[in-house]
Symmetry: C2
Subunit: 207 residues, 2 copies
């Protein structure tokens, strides 16, 4: 597990961190499959917050469906650019439409957030792959709506929006769908969590 | 406080969140100056983690020196690109050298992390402004060394690297310098914390 390191010193820090993370959360992740464990460990490594071992939940088919999509080189869609630039070792394309002219226009016309409008733009461009939402519950809910009406293809969803308004509810709604998912229950989540989950999947593919 | 929102729905969510954040942490931030309070509130808003109200510490001159640098339009330097793209409403320049050829070369030759090498590149380019470290303790420590030997000008430092290896110690070291600082004590911190602090300062300037 490189944990994003690219130099000798970087690898040494990552290795030390891996051991500390394991000592902190091993008793909580013992019931998980090895791939699921690797994902949770990377999230805790990235946030230095062991609580993520308690609140991170995956559907039974999340790893398998996500790995398949990554192996096929399908696009990855993110809600914000911070998440996009954090996914920096993928062979396929990582897309974000939040600054796209169409997203700005749809947001204005329909009175929705730009992050939600960006999901509509992705759907209209024929998106088909993994969706990673690290920030906006409104974007997550928009994807659920698009999938429900057959307007968007989603192989799996990293649903870890953050915040006290709507984030917890949006993640609950995702868990009630057929979409293979990973979520962080409650208000917590965010860019580093989304990035850690995606990069962990990419790394699993390389091993 | 727009909290990054740009649409009506976005503003409404930000406003609701602001009220919840206040109700959760007001008793902890009462002793702070209004500007300092705004920064801590934005960090808790961005992470949905009230613990940041306990662990976020600033030097008495942090807000004043940072605001001055922002008003002068000085550059802002970040350790990683995720932090850079999160700072999206600054009139000045936001720089990150982690993918710069020179940083890659220095990291290889000196056996240091690329994030640390990137600080050396910034210093050699004559950087003078606010430094925001959201990820790498090695970058924070490199800045302290460069400042100590008079090789780098730093107006203030957002020192919120994250992780179980070296992050807490690097932040302690920053607190012992003369550099105006904000830190998150202990292992926690990260991209959203760094971005929230910088964007809050930019927002204060606009108000």
């Amino acid at each position: 597990m490189s944990m994003g390191a690219s130099t000798k010193q970087g690898y040494e820090i990552a290795e030390k961190s891996r051991k500390i993370v394991k000592s902190l959360i091993d008793h909580k992740t013992r019931h998980l499959a090895p791939e699921e464990r690797a994902i949770v460990e990377r999230i805790v490594h990235s946030t230095a917050d062991p609580e993520y071992a308690d609140i991170t939940k995956m559907s039974g088919n999340f790893v398998k469906e996500s790995m398949k999509s990554i192996e096929e080189g399908n696009d990855i869609l993110t809600d914000i650019n911070m998440v996009r630039v954090g996914i920096n070792r993928y062979n396929g394309e990582v897309k974000c439409y939040i600054n796209h002219d169409k997203a700005v226009e749809i947001a204005k016309n329909e009175g929705i957030t730009r992050a939600a409008a960006a999901m509509k733009v992705a759907a209209s461009e024929g998106f088909d792959g993994i969706v990673a939402i690290g920030n906006a519950p409104t974007a997550l809910l928009e994807v659920l709506k698009l999938v429900k009406y057959g307007d968007m293809n989603v192989k799996s969803m990293i649903g870890v929006p953050v915040g006290f308004v709507g984030a917890a509810e949006s993640k609950k709604a995702l868990q009630e769908t057929e979409i293979p998912y990973i979520v962080t229950e409650g208000p917590k989540g965010g860019t580093p969590v989304a990035v850690a989950a995606v990069n962990s999947l990419i790394n699993l593919k390389k091993e």
